[in-house]
């Protein structure tokens, strides 16, 4: 490619201030044609702010300039302006309508700009769509409702749509398009991201540029050519990832050498179990038969491939999904799981941190305090049923500080915090009243490496203090760092029982091997 060609994207001097604090200061970002460029940074590093300036959501402070393929674009730019310049965005939520078909979703943007009463040439569009999808290796019938697609197919569809929109509406002068992917892979199971990464590489090979925001450093190493690293609102480094190591990226992102995951496997054995949990004969929610025991001081992981049923286990034990059969022994009492409800689970001291922060985890438009204290309100009832606001507030501040939530201000709206800090609030909420069993489902989803290490530390400390923990997750690296034991589930049954010392590779291998065993068993039964 000619060396004198202007970069596809050249953003300079971008800054944004909220009140007194600079969320982003004098940031520059350059992406060349044919390049996959990563944007890295911890939660709260200014990464989202930068993307929001680029997408026209935030107006930057004066002094910022944006050049696209050599043409200056005034900021903030409208969505239509960006599209006409050949810039397309795919955000984490993908912006698809699940109840509509692939076809309808694919052409949603063109419908929005077409004359209202023009006849829609469905037949022709269907043929076009089928060709377009096949071109990008997405083999689905355009008439399929999006709700029936797998998660990775949805992500692929969103990317293909963005690409299609740029082509349709773009400058038309052959200048390369830019696709901005904002944490699109965040909620995809690792094994399934492969096809998405392949598509991203293909776009770059075709001369396009891709700007990609991601937390997953393995993925970043695999797919990007260069990365820009943000820390505390400032661009720290530009690293060529062709030769970089993961440790190098971790250091750039966190500003310190990679944290050693202190593993408590050996130490845990020395601590007398203070609480004992026993699950027997659990059935329901994709689980056929599951039993386990967790000693106080122990962290048990359950994992498996998507759909193996392992992800239901915390919810079944908590009564959030109704179990068909099974019993939970907690200390000296045995509770039938068919009768368990979230309300009775909480009364028995069971805590559940659900995976989906936005549905079930917390209420983003309420305050930190309101989210943090919703289950301990009864402890703050005073005379005339009055709620002790001041006492509640003080305890909140102490709690937020203990869990290193930044800033430790209970009065802020929860969605003013970064994702990692929201997750800490969620943990703080459930650990407020020393539970007798902690159930977790993907507690570090969409959280950066620094916070992830903090969460591992917090959980290990609690386990050492005698709290039994059960964690369902698909992140093998996290499980290896966290757990003393990992049960691998396939087709609703435990197929492997792994004991510390654990490694990422070992768990990963067991998950896939486990599925083969399960599949074989399934085939025999059929």
């Amino acid at each position: 490619m000619a060396a004198d060609r202007p970069p596809v994207l050249d953003l300079r001097g971008a800054g944004k201030r909220f009140g007194q604090a600079w969320a982003l200061h004098d940031a520059g970002l350059r992406v060349e044609a044919g390049e996959v460029h990563g944007l890295l940074g911890e939660n709260g590093s200014g990464k989202s702010t930068l993307i929001k300036i680029l997408s026209g959501y935030h107006s930057p402070e004066p002094g910022a300039s944006l050049t696209v393929n050599g043409t200056p674009v005034p900021l903030p730019a409208s969505a239509a302006e960006l599209r006409n310049r050949g810039i397309g965005f795919v955000h984490q939520d993908l912006g698809l309508v699940p109840s509509l078909s692939v076809l309808e979703n694919l052409y949603a943007t063109s419908f929005a700009t077409r004359g209202g009463f023009d006849r829609v040439p469905w037949r022709r569009l269907r043929d076009e769509a089928a060709a377009l999808l096949a071109e990008h290796d997405l083999h689905v019938d355009p008439r399929t409702p999006v709700a029936e697609l797998t998660r990775v197919q949805r992500a692929l569809l969103a990317v293909v749509r963005a690409l299609h929109d740029i082509r349709e509406r773009g400058a038309g002068d052959g200048s390369p398009p830019l696709l901005v992917l904002d944490e699109v892979t965040a909620f995809l199971p690792q094994v399934e991201t492969v096809s998405l990464l392949r598509l991203i590489r293909a776009i770059a090979r075709g001369g396009g540029a891709v700007l990609m925001v991601s937390h997953d450093l393995d993925e970043v190493l695999e797919v990007t050519d260069e990365v820009t690293v943000l820390r505390d609102g400032v661009v720290r480094e530009r690293i060529s990832t062709r030769a970089a190591s993961k440790a190098q990226l971790v250091e750039a992102v966190t500003g310190s050498a990679a944290p050693e995951h202190a593993h408590g496997g050996a130490a845990a054995a020395e601590i007398a179990p203070q609480s004992r949990v026993h699950v027997s004969g659990l059935r329901g929610g994709g689980i056929e038969d599951f039993s386990c025991s967790v000693n106080g001081g122990e962290i048990l992981g359950v994992t498996g491939l998507r759909g193996s049923g392992h992800e239901s286990i915390p919810y079944l034990l908590f009564g959030a999904i109704r179990a068909e059969h099974g019993a939970l022994g907690l200390d000296d009492a045995v509770h039938p799981l068919r009768a368990m409800t979230p309300e009775s689970a909480v009364q028995r001291g069971i805590a559940l941190v659900p995976a989906d922060r936005l549905d079930g985890g917390c209420i983003p438009d309420l305050t930190v305090e309101q989210n943090l204290t919703m289950q301990v309100l009864g402890d703050f009832r005073r005379r005339a049923r009055r709620l002790d606001d001041r006492g509640l507030h003080q305890r909140c501040v102490a709690h937020l500080q203990e869990f290193r939530v930044r800033p430790p201000d209970p009065g802020l709206r929860l969605d003013a915090l970064s994702g990692g800090n929201q997750q800490k609030v969620l943990l703080a909420k459930w650990l407020w009243r020393d539970p007798s069993l902690l159930l977790l489902h993907e507690p570090t989803q969409g959280v950066d490496v620094g916070v992830r290490a903090e969460i591992v530390q917090t959980l290990r400390a609690r386990a050492r203090a005698g709290l039994p923990i059960l964690c369902a997750d698909e992140d093998t690296e996290f499980l290896a760092a966290l757990c003393d034991r990992v049960l691998v589930v396939a087709r609703g049954r435990v197929v492997r029982d792994l004991v510390a010392p654990l490694s990422k590779e070992q768990i990963s291998a067991a998950r896939h091997a486990g599925d083969a065993v399960g599949a074989a068993a399934g085939a025999l039964n059929a």
Partner: protein
């Protein structure tokens, strides 16, 4: 925007409705001082609207929990009619009569709660149906007639006796508002209600008894609507089978308009209270200026649309700032 201005804006938003109310009074007071700015006019405005205050304030818990109750006007009408029929026609003393009417409200609230919460039917539709059933019962027990002759004891204690020149009815509405404010603002139950309304699934997974809270909200709405019906019978000294139904829309207008101020973005008792009196001041003023009575419909209907629009706009703005 400078911090000071933003804080000022927030304060202005909180008290905008109160300021509008005072402005309406000032304008009509200036235009028609002799008829608008009189003690009797204020007494009648404050007294007669207590029915609406109790109804609107009683509706708030249901709205806060994320449900709807469209049967409140039906309960109000039936309650008023029960007072007239049982007390005036069959001669049961007023106290047990009132208790029976309130009991009816509790039962209707429980029925609404049973369908909407236990069976999971959409509350909007269920309560629309229940309200219509109640209208039918009203027509049946009244023989489609207007009844009068309700015990003077009730009428005295609602509208005849005054304190500081304002009928006692006003103070009942005020008391209902204070109680609801206290519950919302200062009790565990109020906080839980807020959480249930904003994130039902979060509340459920946090071990909050979502069903119990939603059910209780319906029961409270039933009880308060019945109380409003008793006040209505006391205000008019009788009952007619249809006029109570016209309270439905004003109650919703007051609840939603109230949600734009005092605690912007949330249904709140003082907001609803002020909204009721803001709306009635506007209507009374226009009527005194010579407007026809249909101005009521335009005013209440328009207020509901404007209120909902305002709350959407202010939510969107809050999001953009954050």
């Amino acid at each position: 925007m400078p911090e000071r201005l933003r804080v000022g804006g927030a304060v202005l938003e909180r008290f905008a409705l109160l300021i509008c109310w005072l402005a309406v009074i000032a304008v009509f007071g200036a235009l028609k001082p002799s008829s608008f700015l009189t003690l009797s006019n204020f007494g009648s405005m404050f007294g007669s609207q207590a029915v609406l205050v109790v109804l609107a304030v009683g509706l708030l818990p249901v709205l806060k929990a994320g449900d709807y109750d469209l049967s409140i006007a039906g309960v109000l009408t039936l309650s008023g009619m029960m007072v007239a029929v049982i007390n005036a026609k069959y001669g049961l003393p007023i106290v047990p009569t009132v208790l029976l009417a309130l009991l009816m409200g509790l039962v209707v609230g429980a029925v609404n709660g049973f369908f909407a919460v236990k069976l999971g039917v959409d509350s909007f539709i269920v309560t629309l149906g229940v309200g219509t059933v109640l209208q039918g019962i009203v027509l049946d027990i009244s023989g489609s007639q207007t009844l009068s002759g309700v015990s003077d004891h009730l009428v005295d204690n609602v509208i005849v006796r005054t304190f500081l020149g304002i009928p006692l009815a006003f103070y009942y509405g005020l008391a209902a508002t204070v109680v609801m404010w206290y519950v919302f603002q200062h009790t565990v139950a109020g906080r839980r209600l807020l959480i249930v309304g904003r994130g039902r699934n979060v509340a459920r997974l946090s071990g909050i008894g979502v069903s119990r809270i939603r059910f209780l909200a319906f029961v409270v709405a039933g009880l308060m609507s019945a109380l409003a019906g008793v006040l209505y019978a006391g205000t008019t000294g009788g009952a007619d089978p249809t006029s109570g139904l016209s309270f439905l829309l004003p109650a919703y207008a007051a609840a939603f308009l109230g949600a734009t101020s005092i605690v912007p973005g949330d249904f709140n008792a003082w907001g609803a209270f002020i909204a009721v009196y803001f709306l009635v001041a506007g209507i009374t003023g226009l009527v005194i200026l010579g407007a026809e009575t249909y101005v009521q419909n335009i005013f209440y209907g328009g207020a509901l649309v404007v209120a909902i629009t305002l709350s959407r706009v202010s939510r969107r703005r809050v999001r953009a700032v954050a």
